[in-house]
Symmetry: C3
Subunit: 158 residues, 3 copies
């Protein structure tokens, strides 16, 4: 897929600053070649950026933008941890929670905002297993939160 | 436990068609001998089949049937991926989300519909770690959604 | 960090009895050096102990006590499984669900009750990746439920 940083720019995006931890946890915990990435929210520099509930306060498009923002924050977090995003081998799993008003049942379409971005960025390697879940409340009233398991190459690709 | 396909029939069930992906994700992502299975819903051929909230629209028995249907869809998904369900070595973990009306707090009993089926099918190997969680909304208004981590034998059992 | 059992006492806590399974699952499932710990609730001997919703029935402090109780129950469960808590190498990941009334959005602060305890107990090794999620209902009306992935030393430390 070529250089990940160049691809991010080609997709019209910019790698944000990595979000500060919002509690007592590591942004990334490594076990072997797997990276467990803590739940990423629709925040900018840790401040809730896309807030509200799908089906009441947010449009589907806003929800998808929120999900993409979670992916970008994950990448920023991984960049800080790895030093080089080209070390990502694949997305193993994403678990996405969508803050949902009563009767909103289109969580998979919302989470596609994250998944399509990662597929566009990393190709087939960016498509992993996934669950999309609706919940009533999320931290800071963010529209969605996504956690990831990422597989890395044991060495850099060069 | 003998042949898994024969056991499914002995338990009075039929392996359904594997559900189509409801978004941009892989039904199964493999890392080593672990298979991450995407969230499986109470659907038939991808169409919501058991819908509504426990404690309001669904009886406990309907919820348990929904949870069993999630397990059957997972097996169908694994059959498609593996070619042979006898390659399953154990169920590592299930994470089940139960669509719950206010005041419904019997999520573990609902999820037992999935867990008892897998135990009956695979014996001790079918019993893994588990969490049962209530949520307000799920995709397509399904009564429950369950994701799995499955361990496989590196080779077929013959 | 010294002996884990001594540290638990130094922190003013007591290892509870390991909670009985509340359904058809294993308290712990091991794959290699990873232990998947089933969802632990704010229970004592399996009976809901800290119940209600954050933002309505429970104060923040009660929620944090509930989260710490989940950690203690996880330790009791691990003690029963491992025989020796000093075999814990690190906390890989915690996924915490906080039973939340409408408008409650401080889930990370609640889950810190669990995370700070594990950090105080195990030092840096006690801090893993984490997600904090709000949900509308949990089993037995408990205030929170937390599942864990724990890494162990392949042998006891002696």
């Amino acid at each position: 897929m070529g250089d990940v940083y160049a691809r991010i720019r080609e997709l019209g995006c910019e790698l944000p600053e990595s979000p500060p931890a919002g509690g007592v946890y590591r942004p990334v915990k490594q076990v072997g070649d797997l990276l467990y990435v803590s739940g990423q929210g629709a925040t900018v520099q840790g401040v809730p950026a896309i807030v509200g509930k799908l089906g009441a306060d947010c449009t589907l498009e806003q929800g998808q933008a929120a999900a993409r923002l979670c992916a970008l924050n994950a990448l920023a977090t991984l960049h800080r941890y790895l030093g080089d995003l080209n070390r990502i081998r694949s997305v193993v799993k994403t678990l996405g929670f969508i803050q949902s008003a009563p009767g909103f049942n289109r969580q998979p379409e919302v989470l596609n905002g994250c998944s399509i971005f990662l597929r566009d960025l990393l190709g087939d390697a960016g498509v992993g297993a996934r669950s999309a879940i609706g919940v009533n409340e999320l931290p800071g009233n963010i529209a969605c939160e996504v956690e990831f398991i990422i597989e890395i190459h044991p060495w850099g690709r060069d």
